[in-house]
Symmetry: C2
Subunit: 430 residues, 2 copies
């Protein structure tokens, strides 16, 4: 009965499927089009006041990362990916990509202490490096929370799990609208679990997903972004693409004058649609600012045919209102377009957004940290982003400059190119 | 991780040590002095609005009870009892009693449906029947809560455990006075776990006691009334005597004119002190009303030498105030005398009583249902009491006539004998 609260020193990642599903959708595109582009992915701790080095043992982190390098996709993993048929009738993953995966070993990493805190980079060919992203985040997160838990008594740990369960229960009640906070005409919340990278622990995410799968009907719980848990619980694996595509593309198509920048961003969408058709046509718009994206990058045809977009920074209400305007300006009915909200959601924000946009667009929710890391500890804000591609520093601006990432010069360059107004924040330097 | 919430159809009682320790302290006295007195113990459900027969499967209850009849004390159980040295230097349990226990099989029971609800009686020689009390209560309680849990989803069950842990945590914080609700001069709460008979489940009691043992220092957690868990967690086994002694004695020394009644009550205390000295000299005073007990039964010498008394019905504040007066009237310093409060406590009542009587007497707390059955379900109020002894109906009045037990005639007779004022409540007929 009590083993739930043991905080064991055991491998965190035991399957290479234990990543966000978008690693595979993006991974196939990378493998097919840009496998050998040299990239650097950089870890960054955005959590104010938390020095990870004070909590996470360097040797243990190294062991955990090294353990991942011993893993490979087994036959069942490949069967699962091969069998993915949720996005269109044809097989989503090509045999040559699966062949590549079957031989993949994750490349080396560069772990060190720098400026008194942990620093971690991943270098190598893009097709191999990309998988480190969510894996390394899951590991760092879990080691950090293990360190907090290890300071507690066994019963205090048990109480944290209890607190997490109570909170989860309350959220599920609200998703099911048992509190009638949403009126019938405000529709039902449709969400997916997106919490792999920020999870408290793998075992806790497992319990959360099992509970969600048991309690929430499938027309409200669309799926999980985690391929391993999607497999385990027979849920839809959710995911399309992330900032690393537009970021890396801005390096690949780098032009000193910046003239090819717009081309690179349009190229992301074209390559994506060429590979997957419209099945995964959710545009992640905030890499260099969503206003720029919808004004300059997104075409009339994409306005008409793409399913929608993902909101991942800035104000979600403002984002939704602007997109409704954009669609109307382009002669497109916004009520048929999806917005996947995925930025720092909690249940009350979800309800607020649902209420605001029900019947005006199709809101869905990618629910992360608040689902998988809400046991009474403060969440960490850790990211791993591509910071160099094809020899060029690359950056991300986002709709909230506090979330900007990259070398200051790269950030400044991008801000100039897109006409981004807000000042660069020193705090955001990785 | 999830097996905690499974509600298995497995034996509830797996050790004959899994009873209240007072079964052994009383059991030895019964074995030595009145082993063959024929007795009837009767089960009674005092819970308003709950018909157990609607929840508990008769066949399963029978199986659980029959399973207990297959058990016997093993060598380690007897070692544990033989080794009990917490109450005085000499061995508490005589070898002849342990010999008796080593051969004991619990006697038959009479389980049936009567008036639409479960009825259960135990007949036989007192020395054997007595052990059924807490065992049968633990079984009925657990079967009832299993039936409630089985109506829930696995996650809903998990949430009940979570709720229980949160509540337990909060109580422990208060026991440790982390909320500073007790001023330094109001002393520290000293309590024992008394929840075996009303526990939600054996596994839950196990978790509760493990948590208590881990979190609360031994000078605040005196022990547990459960011999099995005292052994498991190295805690002090707590217990002295219960209503069955004065009740059965009132049958054994029955006299049609009632003249020997007072003798029988005095005899209980004498026999007890003769056997155990003053180590277990906690008088349970409410069997026929505490006022009567302290006015008529308790002697000047017992006022002076006995450690204290146990409050098990009526108003605890009133009880304490009256006892302080009694002690002063008898020229005894009440600040040296213990009152063990054990009636329907919760943490707020405990704090209130502690605050009221700190420095005025020695309050300690036998904490039951609120500790071992507080997961969000309503508690049951089930009792098993001796209702016939040596051929005579026997009754208990208690300091709250709602808790009276016995045939109406027996209750009326006792009320007349002790001059009990309150009217007999029909609702209390077993």
């Amino acid at each position: 009965m009590r083993n739930i609260s043991r905080v064991a020193d055991e491998p965190i990642i035991t399957s290479l499927l234990d990543v966000d599903f978008y690693k595979f959708t993006m991974g196939q595109l990378i493998f097919l089009l840009h496998p050998n582009v040299p990239v650097r992915f950089t870890f960054k701790n955005r959590t104010k006041g938390v020095n990870l080095f004070e909590h996470v043992d360097l040797g243990e982190l190294r062991e955990q990362l090294e353990h991942v390098r011993t893993l490979s996709f087994n036959n069942s993993d490949l069967h699962y990916l091969r069998g993915t048929n949720e996005y269109g009738e044809q097989r989503m993953f090509r045999e040559e990509y699966l062949q590549f995966l079957s031989k993949l070993k994750l490349p080396e990493f560069d772990l060190r202490v720098e400026g008194g805190d942990l620093a971690l980079d991943f270098y190598g060919p893009w097709a191999e490096v990309t998988y480190w992203e969510t894996i390394s985040l899951s590991i760092k997160n879990e080691l950090y929370y293990r360190s907090l838990m290890n300071k507690l008594s066994s019963f205090q740990r048990t109480v944290h799990y209890a607190e997490g369960r109570i909170r989860l229960f309350s959220k599920i009640q609200k998703i099911l609208n048992r509190d009638n906070s949403l009126k019938p005409w405000e529709g039902r919340i449709v969400c997916s679990e997106f919490g792999t990278r920020r999870r408290f622990a793998k075992a806790w995410q497992d319990e959360v997903i099992e509970a969600l799968a048991e309690e929430i009907p499938r027309d409200q719980l669309r799926g999980t972004s985690n391929a391993y848990f999607a497999q385990k619980y027979g849920l839809l694996p959710m995911g399309s693409n992330a900032h690393e595509l537009p970021m890396a593309y801005s390096g690949i198509y780098y032009d000193a004058d910046g003239e090819d920048y717009l081309y690179s961003q349009k190229k992301v969408l074209e390559d994506w649609e060429n590979l997957y058709g419209l099945e995964l046509s959710i545009a992640l718009s905030d890499t260099f600012g969503s206003d720029y994206f919808f004004d300059r990058v997104f075409t009339q045809s994409q306005y008409e045919t793409w399913k929608g977009s993902r909101q991942d920074s800035g104000d979600p209400i403002q984002y939704g209102e602007k997109r409704i305007e954009n669609y109307i300006d382009h002669g497109v009915d916004p009520t048929k377009k999806m917005i996947l909200f995925s930025d720092g959601l909690d249940i009350d924000k979800i309800i607020q957004i649902q209420r605001r946009f029900a019947n005006r667009l199709v809101p869905t929710f990618g629910w992360g940290t608040d689902l998988t890391n809400d046991l009474g500890f403060d969440p960490l804000s850790l990211v791993v982003k591509v910071t160099k591609a094809a020899g060029h520093d690359v950056a991300k601006l986002s709709d909230n400059i506090e979330k900007a990432m990259g070398e200051p010069e790269a950030i400044e360059r991008m801000k100039k190119l897109v006409g981004y107004k807000v000042a660069y924040s020193e705090a955001c330097r990785y």
